[in-house]
C-alpha cells in the first residue's frame, strides 16, 4: 500500500496551500481501486476458463468490497498520519503487513489449520472478507466465519464492528494531526 508516505510525499503541496488533507488519502484509494479493477479482469478470465458458475449472490461482493475499502482507509489514515512524525513507521509496517498476509487464509485454505486457531484467525476482518468473497463468488464449500463458529450468524458483528471502530478512531486521529502536517512534514 502506498498510503504510508502519502502525506509526506505531498509535503511540497501541504506546505504551500491549505486544503482538506483527507483528499490525499482518497486519491491513493482511487489509485488502488483502479489497480483492483484491472486485476479483477484477470480473475474474471480465470473464472470463465474454470467454468465457475456465477449466481446473483456475486452481488454480495459489493458490500464486501466496501468493507475492504473501509479497512484500507483505516490503515491509510493511521499510517500516513503517524509517518509524518515517526519516520521509521514504514519499516514497522512492512513487518506488520507480512504478518497480516500470513494471518489471512490467502495461500492456504482455512480448513488446513486447527479449528481453535481458525476461530481466532477468522476474527481478523481481512480473513473474514477473503473467505466471504470466495463463498459468494466461487464455491459455497468455503468456510465463512459463521461456519467456523457453527452457524452463528451474529459472529459477523465482531470483524465488522472492529472495522468500524478502528475506522472512527483512526480518522479522528488523522483529523487531529492534520492541523500540524504543514509544520512537521
Amino acid at each position: 500500500m502506498g498510503s504510508v508516505g502519502a502525506i509526506v510525499g505531498k509535503g511540497d503541496l501541504i506546505r504551500k496551500i491549505n486544503f482538506p488533507k483527507y483528499i490525499i488519502i482518497f486519491a491513493v484509494l482511487v489509485g488502488a481501486m483502479i489497480n483492483l479493477s484491472l486485476t479483477a479482469v484477470v480473475v474474471v478470465i480465470f473464472m470463465i476458463i474454470g467454468h465457475v458458475s456465477v449466481s446473483w449472490q456475486a452481488l454480495l461482493l459489493i458490500p464486501l468490497l466496501l468493507e475492504l475499502i473501509l479497512i484500507a482507509l483505516t490503515a491509510a489514515f493511521f499510517l500516513s498520519a503517524s509517518f509524518v512524525r515517526y519516520r521509521d513507521m514504514s519499516y514497522v509496517w512492512e513487518v506488520i503487513i507480512q504478518a497480516a498476509f500470513y494471518a489471512t487464509p490467502i495461500l492456504y485454505p482455512l480448513t488446513r489449520i486447527p479449528h481453535v486457531y481458525a476461530k481466532i484467525l477468522i476474527l481478523n476482518p481481512f480473513a473474514q472478507v477473503v473467505q466471504d468473497s470466495r463463498y459468494v463468488l466461487i464455491t459455497h464449500s468455503t468456510q465463512t466465519i459463521s461456519t467456523v463458529y457453527n452457524g452463528d450468524r451474529w459472529i459477523w458483528a465482531i470483524p465488522i464492528g472492529l472495522t468500524l471502530i478502528l475506522a472512527i478512531v483512526t480518522s479522528t486521529y488523522f483529523r487531529r494531526r492534520s492541523h500540524s502536517f504543514a509544520e512537521e512534514v
Binding site: L13, I14, K16, I17, N18, Y86, D88, S180, E183
Partner: protein
C-alpha cells in the same frame, strides 16, 4: 462597503517546538521510555501577539528582516499553519501565492499542469478550459504545451506559473516575494499585474523586502521585528523604520532612547531648531552642539508632507558647504533657506547631522520642527511652484 474589514487578525501568536531530543521515530518512543534523559523542549516564538486589520480593496504590505516571522504570518493567514493563540478571520475567497506554480508535476505535460495548477488555485475544469488559450498565449508557450514540464526551461516554467497566477480570481491575495525571482522583463510583468490589482480594488497582502515596491503599491504597511509588530501605517514611515532596523546598535547607544523618532550616536546634538515662513522662503535655523571632538561633519535636512511623504531635502555636501571640525563643547548655528514652493498644508522638518564623511549618524531627528503654509490655493499636489500660464495665440476656426 469600502471600509469593510476583510482580514482580521487578533492577538495571534505562533510557537514552534524545538526538540532537543530526537523523537522522530517509533524506535525513539521505546528508547526514551527507558532512558532518563531530561526531556528538554524549547519553544521558538515565531509570532507574538499580532493584531491588525486589512480593509477591502487595500494593498497591505508586510516588511521585516529575515526570520522576523513574516512568512509564518502569511502561512497562518493562508490557513496552512494553525495559530497557537489568537484567531484570524477572513471573508471572501483567499488565494495564497507562497510560491508560483504550486502542484506542478514535472512528469506531466504543460497542458496537464495548467489544469493541475488551476485546481490548486480553485478553478473548475470548465473554467480552466475557458481561459486555456489566454493562459497559453500570455505565457508565450503555444508550441510547448504538449512537452513535459521537466523539459521546460526554468523561465518557461515561471512564465506558465505566472500566467496562471494572474488569472486567480480571488477576493484576497496573499503574495510572498514572488518578485524575488525572474528577470527584468518578468518583474515588469509583475508590476503591471500589481497595477491591475490596484485598479480592480483587490485586497492584497504583500510580503516583501523591496521597499520601493512597498512604497509604490501599498496603501499601508506593517513592520515586524523579533516576532512583534513594530508599527503599522504610512508606507514611507514604515520603509524608514525598516532601514533603521539595520542600524540598530547605534540606536541603542542613544542616551535619550525614549523617542524612536530621534536616533544617532549622540556625538553631535541638534539643540535648537526654529522655522519661519514668508512668501518667498521657509527659513529653518538650528544650533548644533558637539559632545565630542568630531570631524568631517555633514548636516542634512528633509521636508515631509503631513502624510509623511518626503518632498525635498538636501545636505551640506550637495550645497558644497564645508562645516568646520568641532571640539567638545563647540556649537555652530546654521540656516536653511528653502524656497517656498509648498502647497497648502502642514510640513515636517527632519534635520540630521552626521560625521565621518556622512557615514556615522550623530543625530537624526524626525519631525523636529513643523511649519504650515497658507497660500489659500488648495492644490492637490505637494508642491506649488510659480507655474506660469500664458495664452500664446488665439484665433477662430477658419
Amino acid at each position: 462597503m469600502e471600509n469593510e474589514v476583510v482580514v482580521k487578525v487578533e492577538n495571534v501568536s505562533k510557537n514552534f517546538l524545538l526538540p532537543h531530543e530526537r523523537k522522530g521515530s517509533v524506535k525513539g518512543i521505546f528508547t526514551s521510555m527507558f532512558s532518563k534523559a531530561t526531556k528538554k523542549k524549547e519553544t521558538q516564538h515565531a509570532l507574538k501577539d499580532i493584531s491588525f486589520e486589512v480593509k477591502k480593496g487595500e494593498f497591505f504590505g508586510i516588511v521585516g528582516r529575515n526570520g522576523s516571522g513574516k512568512s509564518t504570518l502569511l502561512k497562518i493567514l493562508a490557513g496552512i499553519y494553525q495559530p497557537t493563540k489568537g484567531k484570524i478571520s477572513t471573508s471572501g475567497k483567499l488565494v495564497p501565492f507562497i510560491e508560483l506554480g504550486v502542484g506542478f508535476n514535472p512528469e506531466l505535460s504543460g497542458r496537464d499542469n495548467v489544469y493541475l495548477n488551476g485546481a490548486v488555485l480553485g478553478f473548475s475544469t470548465k473554467e480552466v478550459e475557458a481561459m486555456y488559450e489566454e493562459i497559453v498565449s500570455f505565457a508565450e508557450l503555444e508550441r510547448f504545451m504538449d512537452q513535459k514540464l521537466k523539459n521546460y526551461s526554468s523561465g518557461m516554467q515561471v512564465r506558465l506559473a505566472f500566467s496562471m497566477a494572474v488569472r486567480a480570481n480571488a477576493d484576497i491575495l496573499l503574495i510572498d516575494e514572488v518578485l524575488a525571482v525572474g528577470d527584468a522583463d518578468f518583474q515588469r510583468k509583475c508590476y503591471e499585474y500589481f497595477n491591475l490589482l490596484k485598479k480592480n480594488r483587490k485586497t492584497v497582502v504583500f510580503v516583501s523586502h523591496d521597499m520601493d515596491a512597498v512604497q509604490k503599491y501599498c496603501d499601508r504597511a506593517m513592520i515586524i521585528n523579533d516576532s512583534r509588530i513594530v508599527d503599522i501605517g504610512q508606507t514611507t514611515k514604515i520603509a524608514e523604520k525598516y532601514f533603521k532596523l539595520f542600524i540598530e546598535p547605534a540606536t541603542k547607544k542613544e542616551e535619550e532612547g525614549s523617542q524612536d523618532e530621534r536616533w544617532g550616536d549622540g556625538s553631535l546634538k541638534i539643540d535648537q531648531i526654529s522655522s519661519n515662513v514668508n512668501d518667498q522662503t521657509v527659513n529653518i535655523q538650528e544650533t548644533i552642539i558637539a559632545n565630542n571632538n568630531v570631524e568631517d561633519i555633514l548636516v542634512g535636512i528633509r521636508i515631509r508632507s503631513s502624510s509623511g511623504q518626503p518632498i525635498t531635502g538636501t545636505n551640506s555636501q550637495f550645497e558644497k558647504v564645508v562645516i568646520p571640525n568641532l571640539k567638545k563643547g563647540d556649537t555652530i548655528k546654521i540656516e536653511w533657506k528653502v524656497p517656498n514652493i509648498f502647497s497648502d498644508g502642514r510640513y515636517f522638518v527632519d534635520p540630521s547631522v552626521a560625521h565621518g564623511a556622512g557615514v556615522k549618524i550623530a543625530d537624526w531627528w524626525d519631525e523636529a520642527q513643523e511649519f504650515t503654509i497658507r497660500k489659500n490655493r488648495p492644490l492637490p499636489y505637494p508642491i506649488d511652484p510659480d507655474i506660469e500660464l500664458k495664452m500664446i495665440a488665439s484665433g477662430e476656426k477658419e
